[in-house]
Symmetry: C2
Subunit: 356 residues, 2 copies
Amino acid sequence: MSRTHKIAIIPGDGIGRDVIPAAQQVLDRAAALCGFTLAYHPFDWSCETYHATGRMMPDDGITQLADHDAIFLGAVGYPGVPDHISLWGLLIPIRREFDQYVNLRPVRLLPGVPCPLANKKPGDIDFWVVRENVEGEYSQIGGRMFAGTNREFVEQTAIFTRFGTDRILRFAFDLATKLGRNHVTSATKSNGIFHSMPFWDERFAAIAATYPETRIDQYHIDILAARFVMSPERFDVVVGSNLFGDILSDLGPGVTGTIAVAPSANLNPERKFPSMFEPVHGSAPDIAGKGIANPVGAIWAGAMMLEHLGETEAAALVMHAIESALADPATPRTPDLGGVGTMSALNAAIVEQCGK
Amino acid sequence: MSRTHKIAIIPGDGIGRDVIPAAQQVLDRAAALCGFTLAYHPFDWSCETYHATGRMMPDDGITQLADHDAIFLGAVGYPGVPDHISLWGLLIPIRREFDQYVNLRPVRLLPGVPCPLANKKPGDIDFWVVRENVEGEYSQIGGRMFAGTNREFVEQTAIFTRFGTDRILRFAFDLATKLGRNHVTSATKSNGIFHSMPFWDERFAAIAATYPETRIDQYHIDILAARFVMSPERFDVVVGSNLFGDILSDLGPGVTGTIAVAPSANLNPERKFPSMFEPVHGSAPDIAGKGIANPVGAIWAGAMMLEHLGETEAAALVMHAIESALADPATPRTPDLGGVGTMSALNAAIVEQCGK
Ligand SMILES: CC(C)[C@H](C(=O)O)[C@@H](O)C(=O)O
Ligand SMILES: CC(C)[C@H](C(=O)O)[C@@H](O)C(=O)O
């Protein structure tokens, strides 16, 4: 009997519903070639669910997901449901309840993807953003006073624990070691953000001291963002707080051409809970259902999922398929890549390359 | 007798001490041509002052500055003095005590400045970042518990008032109107930051409703950063909180080639207190005193100061001088512009162009 991995599928909203089924075709092909099975369990949780039930997912949603080897998510959010409701009702609770404290995002210039920077070729830009994923600036602590009056104000409190800070920093250093690229860059803002960022710097220095063979540097987030554009070659592993990591891991893909090809892994490295894999792009309501979404972000996220499941060979097949399809000028391209092709046509080309 | 403007000069640290005297030469030339005088009053407040006195500026520093028409600042910060001390001891108190609640920063691709983006020419990128400058994420509210133990954590609280939010938004809409470019983009993150950003969006909608002729859009800061790289042409006026504005107003100059040419105006629009003008770049200790800093950021900041003082003609002379000097291939260029020239040589070329 062949190996089986139980995968919870949450297509979610908008183009999430387009790209997830497309990506499944590629993953299934790799699985077949490598002799294992992906057993999918779909969950139809979305803004539509919210409209019908007043909740993004059922009360026992987290429990329903718990018994899976991984979660494969499309995108969450749709016009008519305020973002802070849709996201804090589904995506963010999953990240937190399953202690997926690492958000790992590659920034890599792929062949055949037009790069907005001058004179860059595949290989020039290739690094990882490690984002803290469960605490920091994303917090429900705070509130509003004097609502509706001229004295109205809101407080928004960020929480940085030593426990949470140290473990994300350690993950970044371990990743750099594992990759054989002993260089970690910290995103900070200790000149402007008074309590949290000086603390972040302290912990960065303390953890760095336990990795003496690793080269370190740190930049304030403002200049770091500029350097992503001016000298993206210099980075290997960049570690940042929940917010800074969020910004950098969209900016990075922007610098390499299109958000639509970028993947994201929400990891519980201890494997106590399932990890979640999703494209970086959002639900893109304007093109949802039109059959022109770019499936690459979802497929690449799927490759990261296979890697996490221990299916290294299958993951490599999928990555190879993405790269050879994109490198081939004859491959149909979706509009975000400057083409006029459909999602299905691009996806078929990738399936076709899988195992070749 | 000719008009005189009283200018407080704070060169500060590092290359601040190089570029401020250089910029003064250009401003003086423009003033002479236009028949007014800039009366400079130097203040030697810096990290050296801190080493000597334990304070970045004297107790009555703010009072000493109050009686000036404008403040012209170089850069603050030097190795050996933690940033959050040097900045919160000088730059940030000046911004706050003088209620300089607008930080205004142009993002413009200048002739002769190499652009990291492919296929862009001067004119393609030309917009303004309006940053809230006295509240928001920059706050001393918060603290630390269980220091030195495994339970250690810090809290960092951001404060957004309706008063502070509304006035910066209004400034942005008024600027768009004044420029005849009726388009304002709001930087938000209401899908992740729970209290403050949904509030920011509410106020943006409320203020926008009072400017019905102005086109609006809003992006989450992560995707907005990516769009600065992928489609910088689309922006006219971008308004953001203290932190988001900080990031965007370094990223913007990064996209147009070099932070070193970008200026920044800290405005008290009501003119109850002096406004402050400074280059966007920092103190750059690695090149301080070597005579190779780029003076353009400081000079451009000086032009914004002249504009604020009502010396519109002189401001235009200075901007013209910067642009013609940079456009001339014979002009010596500092290393950040890809050249081997000195600051003095570049500065002399700009002085030379002033009034031509
Ligand atoms: C030095 C620092 C406190 C400052 C800021 O963050 O405001 C700087 O980055 C700026 O943009 O003027
Ligand atoms: C949708 C939003 C809450 C989310 C985030 O900010 O974490 C997204 O931008 C991401 O990066 O996954």
